[in-house]
Amino acid sequence: MFETKEMGKRFDAVVALNGASLKAYPGEIRALLGSNGSGKSTMIKILAGVYGPDSGEISVDGKVVSIGSGTASRQHGIATAFQELSLIPTMSVLDNLMLGSEPKGKFGMVDRAEARQKVQALLDRFGIDCDMDAYIQTLMPSTQTMLEVAKAVSQKPRLLLLDEVTAPLYHDEIQVLFRIVRELKADGVSIIYVTHRMSEIFELCDQVTIMRSGETVKEASTNEIDLDEIVFHMTGQYPEAHAEKEVAGDSGEPTGREVLLDVRNLAIFPSVWDVNMKAYKGEIIGIAGLQGQGQPEFIRSLLGAAQITGGSVQFDGKKLDFKSPVDAVNGGVGFVSGDRKREAVFPVRSISENISAGKIASGQLGAYMTGKFIKEFSSGAVEKYNIKIGRLENPASSLSGGNQQKLVIARWIAMNPTLLLLDDPTKGVDVHSRREIHKILQECAAGGMTVIISSSEYEELFGIADRIYVFFEGRVSDMLAGARKTDELLVAAMMGMTGQNKDGEAM
């Protein structure tokens, strides 16, 4: 058996694991559950040899071992299928599956014929229909994931770690996967299965280990635990009973206001399948959900930065047809990214230039635009919204993260867009700055601006949003408004436990 005890791991100031433990017995499928940031991915990565733990011990069959690298992990009989995939996109299926375990022929050369045979057998077993000489990057995401699992299984592990592998898979592929996992179980392999899909736990798993805030809070057999209890351990909240939910049918849509945005059956391959949403003028719409359920893609599609592959979007009475952010900005859309460093801040440019960036972006290229104009424009914005930031001529990199975020918000508010999109804007922002940002957004909405804000912290959305759309696997699993804005309902919807998605059915 495999066991980890008292595991501790920090990333700078963030504590990912705080004394967590995990056991895996032979011939057992164990679900490892937890919400975002609970530490389950870190745990998996420690077992896979990606990270070394700061404290705690790992034992295999009662002997304490150290797993310092991916190779060491494999030598202990551990194989991992990563959520973010470990396949090399520019190599063929054949080479990827045989990487590191190529069959040797004469003179230590790779025996290609035997390799082809082995890979073909593996593809057949997994029911993967693809050319083994095709490059990984040319394959569908679901096929890539199946190959990732096949690669892990081909290493004949004693412990198989599956990190959220079903998310991109289709229904029949999931069935194949389940069949193989059960076969491995019969062969005495330990399997640790990470998932957000509650239905899969009861269908497949024998045991559950639940983590919260870097600690292991519950271990149980799936026979003796129910969904509500699992959710309680994951979140510290009991989900509300289904019956009560049906009663409250409040749509929460404001009356007497104009619709600004009408999204119908929106699809963005491969992350968003079917999203319906209405946003009225002057409304603040919240977008909630676990990480990677299609929220960033949805927001970017409204900005013309992600390609819409299905459905329709009406914006201000017309069909939304932004081919790039240039069109969107000219059409009155603003975008605040939570990924400040990569997508929002110009670190070496001055604070005033950063604030004026939206103004700089739109208009005639040859137009006269002095430093004085930029300074006046930005100081106007700073005064109007009482954004306290350093001297306007200092570079943006001189500011703290919270102030940099205010800077980016000021940039867009000063443009007075009709629609302001914010993608997790308060990530890593201190409480005080966060409150100020909320105040600013509320003022803007009161002035008629429509605000769509996505956040990974749902307390934030309760405070600020009129209505909350909850995303689960590329769909809206629930819309919460008025009295239905409760922790319990939100948690349930984030786990996909609502009428439409209760069965956790993938496409």
Binding site: A305, R342, E343, A357, G358, A367, M369, G371
Partner: protein, 330 residues
């Protein structure tokens, strides 16, 4: 090396100088340029004359024109190695169209501008749409331009510039102010306007600093970058015309060295390889440094090989000094 007691004062000094150079690149470049000249005069007193200073002034102006577009391209996060090739070809076009007659200046001008814009456009498209590194793309395209010029001229360029055009470049007012300075009266304000007073210039700095953020802000990043290459191409072509006006007859690859010289002048002037930072004033000062350096190596009467080796070593030293600042994009 840092532990050595002998070397420590030297590394400390280097660090201080380097720090100053990064904080005040323009001032540092002026000090460096004047220092080089003072050293030259100290070694070779004959290098100090009204005539010599006038010539140095002229060379500085010419290099600063050639480096103007390079400055913009670097600020936008790119690099333009076609400067030299475009200058050389523009020079050949100018002489072969003018053939000693000033009346054909406008024709030559129009063709050169078209050439510069076309090369710049190709540079822009290849770096932005195809996504190849600017260094590789522009080196390759510069090469193509050079080879094509051989094809067209069959190795021997013909013609001369018109006499009036030539004197508009080389005539010395009051005996020492080169007439070329009059072109600076048009070109400098134009470049300053584009960089500091136009929306294009503002966008260029943002694009160079963080292209992804610029794109999400609604800036057409590819367009801005392509325009910067086109401006660089046209300015290079015009500088090539002025250059041949100075020398009157053209030959193949006559200005090729300007590709490197302009790049170094721009970097010495404080423009960052990482993009988003830089001034044209700095580039003008950097051009002076390059001219003074070349002048020193010539005045010292070193053999061609020693000159080239020295030039190379000095340039490495300068680049090390100016690149101690960490890259902007982590």
């Amino acid at each position: 090396m840092h532990n050595s007691a002998v070397l420590r004062p030297i590394t400390n000094l280097f660090g201080k100088v380097s720090g100053f150079a990064n904080r005040n690149p323009t001032r540092m470049a002026i000090i460096l340029g004047l220092g080089l000249y003072a050293f030259t005069v100290f070694q070779v007193p004959g290098a100090f004359s009204v005539q010599a200073i006038s010539t140095l002034f002229m060379m500085t102006l010419l290099l600063s024109f050639a480096s103007a577009g390079q400055t913009m391209v670097l600020i936008g996060g790119g690099m333009d190695f076609t400067v030299g090739a475009v200058m050389s070809v523009a020079a050949m076009i100018t002489t072969s169209i003018m053939r000693g007659e000033d009346g054909r200046f406008l024709q030559a001008f129009a063709v050169c501008m078209l050439l510069g814009a076309a090369v710049g456009f190709i540079n822009g498209v290849c770096t932005t749409k195809v996504g190849l590194p600017a260094l590789v793309v522009t080196l390759a395209i510069g090469n193509v331009v050079t080879r094509m010029s051989y094809l067209v001229t069959a190795g021997t360029p013909v013609g001369r510039v018109g006499p009036a055009f030539a004197s508009s470049v080389i005539y010395r007012h009051f005996g020492f102010i080169p007439s070329l300075a009059l072109y600076a009266l048009i070109l400098f304000p134009l470049v300053f306007y584009i960089l500091y007073r136009s929306r294009f210039g503002r966008q260029l700095y943002l694009v160079g600093n963080n292209p992804e953020a610029a794109r999400l802000c609604g800036i057409n990043v590819n367009k801005i970058k392509t325009i910067s290459y086109m401006i660089s191409g046209m300015l290079s072509a015009f500088t090539g015309m002025l250059g041949v006006g100075m020398l009157q007859a053209s030959r193949n690859q006559m200005f090729d060295a300007y590709a490197y010289q302009s790049l170094i002048a721009v970097v010495v002037g404080g423009t960052s390889f990482a993009g988003g930072v830089g001034t044209y004033g700095g580039t003008i000062a950097g051009s002076m440094v390059m001219v003074m350096l070349n002048n020193m190596l010539t005045a010292l009467n070193l053999s061609q090989r020693v000159r080239e080796i020295t030039l190379g070593l000095v340039l490495v030293l300068i680049l090390v000094m100016y690149n101690r600042r960490k890259g902007v994009r982590q």
